[in-house]
Amino acid sequence: MFPFSFEWIWDMSHMVFHGGLWYALSILGMGMTYCIIKAAYDSVKGKGGHHSHGHH
């Protein structure tokens, strides 16, 4: 799973499989981190009212 694992080999299969996994996890992780930090910031600033907004 990580390059420091004893079974890791620097070959195409490991790079493609794990590259894809970490690429997806990074997008989800960064996206959610941004949303959470911004939500905390907006809450502290008291930004916006309690309006109903349709998602999607």
Binding site: L21, I27, L28, S52, H55, H56
Partner: protein, 417 residues
């Protein structure tokens, strides 16, 4: 009693009636939980799986719910990436159905692996030459995407929305939802495909083996294609059932018609590709391995796997619903639409059954006979368990969350609420 939790401007049944409904479905859920605990405590000897059926009823259920849950990624792709804005009125429900399907798949897998405490091995000690590793990676990540897509709906609950942090979090998540939806489509393409690839690469099993493009057998593309076609059909199917149970119109006909039309064309193109694939397999691939088409469809106990299954999957549950869905005058008739999406859903389930269970039943060596298998009650109960869980989650979501944006407009309440 729970009126403060119910969305504004909509009507719901009394809490007593709702509790009774949940209790009835909950009893079925409990039956499944008992079977699940038996399997966890006593082990896989509670099942009728054997050396011929290392994967059994569960793997079919897994593949079927993943295909049917494809409505979430494909509707998300249409809505956020292709820009079919009208689908915003049904995307919430597609996401909820997808969330139920994928959480069910993970639940079944957690039972199927036999050693759930070692389930993390597939990530930590990944076999990078296995399509199932790709499935595990993408499935888990995509479930994360579905959770991210479902959470904003939860945050829109009247009481949760009053908490500023959750209000802003839901709003922020919605603002960048296109990024999550695109990631979800990317992940879905690969795990749906890899599930098909698992069967397609098994050159030791001529019934499932297919030629393909580079490292990908044709089944890789057919699975993704069929999930994109049938997923929206399942969304429409569940929407119609929900409307019947609630006795309300929840989504406008124009929205359903658009989704049905797209699903119809996807299904028609898929079924043409599937017919070509089947013909090539029957005429070239299987004979090259020493088999004729009828070797796979004859001389089995009770003729359970006769040619009828091929005709039912491709003809009755493939060509027929595809033609019904692409013909405007047919798909605009509610009864015909329901028949078409039901046939399409059955077709996908049949396809997954054939590709994972018939594959294991067909004898490969000349001295073998057909392998038979019938699931134990524990297997059946744990397969029904996710259905009960899905019904409960959908019922709770419908009652407390604004899942259907058009519900208020389609069902106005005298004097408001």
């Amino acid at each position: 009693m729970d009126s403060v939790l119910i969305p504004k401007g909509v009507e719901r049944c009394s809490i007593g009636k709702f509790a009774l409904f949940i209790a009835v479905v909950g009893a079925v859920l409990l039956w499944g939980v008992v079977a699940m605990l038996l399997i966890y405590i006593k082990g896989l000897n509670q099942t009728n799986m054997n050396n011929a059926y290392g994967f059994a009823l569960w793997i079919w259920a897994d593949l079927a719910v993943i295909a049917l849950g494809g409505g979430a990624f494909f509707t998300g792709l249409l809505r956020y990436i292709i820009g079919k804005d009208e689908l915003k009125h049904i995307i919430n429900y597609a996401v909820l159905i997808g969330f139920v399907c994928y959480s069910s798949a993970l639940l079944i897998l957690a039972i199927d692996v036999g050693q759930p405490l070692r389930a993390w091995f597939i990530f930590w000690h990944a076999n990078v030459h296995s399509m199932l590793t790709e499935v595990a990676f993408c499935l888990t990540c995509y479930f994360g995407v579905l959770t991210i897509e479902y959470l904003p709906m939860v945050f829109e609950n009247r009481q949760i929305d009053r908490v500023p942090f959750f209000h802003h979090l839901g709003h922020n998540m919605h603002a960048i939802m296109a990024i999550f939806a695109a990631t979800g489509a990317f992940l879905s393409f690969f795990h749906q495909g890899s599930l098909g690839g698992v069967t397609g690469v098994m050159f030791g099993r001529p019934f499932g083996y297919r030629t393909g493009l580079l490292i990908w057998p044709w089944t890789f593309f057919l699975y993704t294609w069929s999930a994109a076609a049938v997923g929206p059909c399942f969304t429409i199917f569940i929407t119609r059932i929900t409307e019947a149970v609630t006795r309300k119109k929840l989504v406008k006909d124009s929205v359903v018609d658009l989704l049905a039309k797209i699903a119809g064309w996807m299904l028609l193109t898929y079924i043409i590709a599937k017919i070509i694939d089947t013909w090539y397999w029957a005429a070239v691939t299987a004979p090259a391995a020493g088999f004729t088409l009828m070797d796979f469809y004859s001389n089995n106990p009770g003729s359970a796997y006769g040619l009828w299954i091929l005709i039912a999957e491709i003809g009755l549950c493939g060509v027929v619903p595809a033609i019904m869905l692409v013909t405007p005058s047919i798909r605009r008739r509610p009864a015909a639409l329901f028949v078409a999406v039901t046939l399409a859903v059955i077709g996908a389930c049949l396809n997954r059954w054939v590709m994972v269970l018939q594959v294991q039943a067909v004898p490969v060596l000349s001295f073998e006979t057909w392998f038979t298998y019938f699931p134990s009650w524990q297997e059946i109960a744990t397969t029904i368990l996710p259905v009960a869980y899905g019904i409960i989650l959908i019922a709770l979501s419908y009652r407390y969350l604004p899942i259907f944006p058009q519900e208020q407009e389609l069902n106005p309440i005298e004097g408001g609420k």
